[in-house]
Amino acid sequence: MGHSYTPGLTVTEHTVVRRKRLLPIPGEVLVRAGDRITADSVIARTDLPGKVHALNLANLLSVAPDEIGDYLIKKAGEGVCRDEVIAENKPFISWFKTEVRSPIDGTLESASTVTGQTLLREPPKSLNLLGYVDGRVVEMYPNQGVTVETTCTFIQGIFGIGGEAWGEVVMGVHAAGESLTPAQLGSDMKGKIVVCGAFVGADLMKRAKDIGVTALVAGGLHDKDLRELLGYDLGVAITGTERVGFTLVLTEGFGTIPMAAKTFTLLETHAGRKASISGATQIRAGVIRPEILIPHTDHADPAVGQPGSSDVDRGGIKTGDQVRVIRDPMFGRIGQVTGLPPELTRIETESEVRVLHVQFADRSVATIPRANVELIEG
């Protein structure tokens, strides 16, 4: 077997993380290697081409497509204003005159003598690319963007919704197994990243949106509540562009599942600090997991660090490792690996698979397929 374990989610107090920040199309990079930036720094800029509007002049003027050149007042490449006449016919009787006006401010891009169509383009829109994390620029991609490096506390979630955001971390609950109620979510949490414990429900998410919370972090949620939040049934886990009013990061999965103690403790330790958070998830080749980065602003130059375990292949599971069970019937339980039998073992389904033995906090031991656990890394 080439490999037989599921890489785990990284949850670590101290690591160096690099993030590539690239424009969707070439533009201008505004920072240089070595520059320190913050999450809201504009690091690159480009002009996105404006929206295109099509007008079929041949139809509007009732002429043949190859004749439209005779009726055009504006030429290709010329600027046009909204309601400005761009083409007109020349009838003998002026009552029958038809004028075609531009529906937009912009440019007349082209006029086709085959289709009789003109294309008008709105002015370009400026796109600013922000830093996302507090850190230092370590690599440049001319006209495209940069790599930013930061020394931080780093927590990967399993699934998220919504894009990049930043704000102060606040604890909504006192224990990983508790769940925040809507009544506990006060208006003082506006603009904050709120740690909600084991579960977020539909009511809590509605209140978070009303208040203007930046992000929610929780162990789990029910699929039905996700459907209600999005307004549709999510088919494929490619997320990050949703606009639901806040960013959501789940650390464990679907259902009511206490946050792993290590995750909760790390967030608790850094309550009051500024964090960057992203719900973007892509569970296919080129996996992207949601993340929370809490930059360490108070010490060493990040450039001297090495990319942390999140960027490095760690190897396989070993005896003594902490693992999380990620499939029923023991979904969500966390224990320690006590044995790694090399031979294939026949399980209840009659499949022959590689297994491991896990001991839980109550000292009970279970045999679980290796595919059904993930390392708690970091």
Binding site: T6, V52, D223, D233, D311, F331, T349
Partner: protein
């Protein structure tokens, strides 16, 4: 392309999205056989960003298992027998690839269900995932089309439209929209997007003017030169060429991989299609092949020699499992589950599989739920395939007096389940089901074959390797396909018609060419029965249906024919077609449990 030297040893890889699989094929006294296999994670993504690392790792595993020295550092030793040692090197290295999401294309045509569909069939047949089909009459406003083209970022665009000598207006209009969108390729910021024009030849100068500078334009023969005929091969070949020259050249490590390979690297689904076509041609049969993966389900069919492929991009058993639920609905999944379960529990379980796609069922309940979802994914993918594997639409048909009573529109589906000879299943859920009968019943329930149909599965998913091998050595490819790749499950006899449960559906007799005593009996409506018949047992079946029942020769008409055995045997299905499950939940669970027990589907 064929090679002129004799091939003794072949190493083949398939670079999949997550795993790179290598197989060793050697010429033995019994012909070509697949002897060893190895696999390793695909390394096209960070931190490695070099596909050849995964290839070398997979081949290294084959080396370890076989004892044959294939690698010299980062070089594949060719030909075999180099350094005077028989156990060194291989004669050729070949590969397929779907890494990095495979080949993603956008296609455009003038009229949606004419050149639009032809372009779609062309791209799918070349192994692409079709991200969108744009057409003059697709119902979208011009600016919506332009926005869509701009936001898609495909690997390649295929533009068709118009018959040769016909109007050029619509295809030029589509070209204008593409030019206005100024689309960028998915990979690489600095190179131009490849665009193939395969439409009305009279439009070529215009297309050159409009798109020549904005895209890497290639012009080839019209895919619909006349309304009555498709000509997909030239455009399909161009897609393969551009896939190699442009798309793959942008993917990390592929330049090196292309240099290693002794034959052009082709997209994985295109290779699977090639081996299916080879099999159908060799045996003169109609077949349906399905490859149900984690993210997508590919369906291939060859009916009357006409090949079709579709890919249902978001129907799969792990990454896309939640989309199966979204598309089919909870009730359709639950109808196959032989116990009751709360909706919230099932929904959460499906989502948890989506976010942790590599997990496997540990309990029997979980296995049964996955098998229920697989039935729906298979069914939806075949429905999708049927809608695209059609005759040409918009074609004038000559009608005779005999057609008066059977008015059929042009563009009817080519998939005729009564004429289907073989179903080949592939993908983890079918290839690795703990009991082979589980694979067989999943396909029977999902596809509901009619009359007499043989079923098989791909043992270890080596169809891509054999597809590309068929381009250099057809004999080697078919040898391995028949001996090592296909696992025959057996034959299904399914009655068309409905009747009261317990009443006679059909009588059967199975006669063996060995000393084994004939097996005969009566199958009742609502009954499922399994008779073990191994693949080596030559046998004939004689069937006498009840008056209202059709087994392929008409209502009440007897059927007598030879049958193929397999690791499961002969499945006699008296549940009727279309298959109707009891509406009442309790009765449905009871019926499922009865059927499952009858064929020993799961351990008890």
């Amino acid at each position: 392309m064929t090679v002129d030297r004799p091939l003794q040893t072949i190493i083949a890889t398939d670079c999949g999205s997550t795993t790179t699989k290598a197989i060793l094929i050697e010429k033995t006294a019994e012909g070509y056989r697949q002897t060893y296999r190895g696999e390793a994670p695909t390394t096209v993504e960070a931190p490695f960003e070099d596909v050849t690392r995964g290839v070398l790792n997979a081949i290294a595993e084959v080396e370890e298992l076989s004892g044959r020295r294939i690698l010299d550092g980062e070089r594949i030793i060719t030909p075999s027998g180099t350094e005077g040692n028989h156990a060194t090197g291989v004669d050729i290295y070949i590969s397929t690839s779907s890494a990095g999401g495979g080949l993603q294309m956008m296609v455009a045509g003038a009229v949606q269900n004419m050149t639009g569909e032809s372009a779609q069939r062309c791209a799918l047949g070349a192994g692409a995932i079709v991200m969108d089909v744009l057409a003059s009459n697709d119902g979208r406003l011009p600016h919506e089309k332009i926005e869509r083209i701009r936001s898609l970022r495909p690997d390649m665009i295929l533009l068709s439209g118009g018959t040769d000598g016909g109007t050029i207006t619509h295809v030029v209009e589509m070209a204008e929209y593409i030019a206005a969108a100024d689309p960028h390729p998915r990979l690489g910021m600095s190179y131009q997007l490849p665009l193939i024009f395969a439409g009305n030849k009279d439009a070529r100068p215009r297309i050159q003017d409009i798109l020549g500078e904005k895209t890497a334009l290639t012009i080839t023969d019209n895919i619909r030169p006349v309304l009555e005929r498709e000509n997909l091969a030239p455009a399909r070949n161009k897609i393969h060429d551009l896939f190699l020259e442009h798309v793959m050249a942008q993917a990390p490590g592929y330049k090196k991989l292309i240099a290693w390979a002794g034959a052009p690297i082709i997209p994985t689904p295109a290779a699977v299609g090639m081996i299916m076509e080879t099999l159908a041609r060799r045996d003169g049969i109609n077949l349906i092949g399905v490859d149900i993966g984690g993210a997508t389900t590919d369906v291939f069919s060859i009916f009357g020699g006409v090949f079709n492929r579709t890919v249902s991009a978001n129907l799969g058993m792990s990454y896309s499992i939640s989309n199966v639920l979204a598309e089919t609905g909870l009730a359709n999944i639950m109808r196959w589950v032989p116990f009751s379960l709360e909706e919230q529990t099932l929904r959460n379980r499906i989502k948890n599989k989506m976010i942790r796609p590599t997990t496997i069922p540990q309990t029997l309940d979980e296995l049964q739920i996955e098998h229920a979802i697989a039935r729906e994914a298979l069914r939806l993918a075949l429905d999708h395939h049927k809608s695209l594997a059609t005759g040409l639409k918009g074609v004038q048909q000559e009608r005779t007096i005999s057609d008066i009573f059977e008015q059929r529109a042009s563009g009817a589906t080519l998939i005729d389940m009564l004429k289907l000879d073989l179903i080949v299943g592939s993908g983890g859920i079918l290839s690795h089901a703990p009991r082979r009968v589980q694979s067989m019943l999943m396909m029977v329930d999902a596809y509901q074959p009619l009359g007499v149909t043989t079923l098989a599965v791909d043992s270890i998913f080596m169809m891509p390797h054999l597809g590309v091998l068929s381009t250099v050595h057809e004999q080697a490819a078919t040898d391995v396909f028949v001996k090592d790749c296909l696992v025959y499950l057996g034959t299904c006899v399914a009655a068309i018609g409905q009747g009261k449960a317990g009443e006679r559906c059909f009588d059967y007799t199975v006669r063996f060419e060995t000393d084994r005593k004939p097996d005969s009996g009566t199958v009742a409506f609502g009954e499922l029965r399994l008779i073990p018949v191994s693949v080596s047992e030559a046998a004939r079946i004689e069937l006498q249906p009840a008056k209202s029942v059709d087994l392929g020769e008409g209502k009440g008409a007897p059927v007598a024919r030879s049958m193929k055995g397999g690791v499961v045997g002969l499945l006699l299905d008296g549940r009727g077609r279309p298959l109707q499950l009891p509406a009442d939940a309790q009765a449905r669970v009871a019926a499922l449990v009865k059927w499952h027990r009858a064929v020993e589907l799961y351990p008890t």
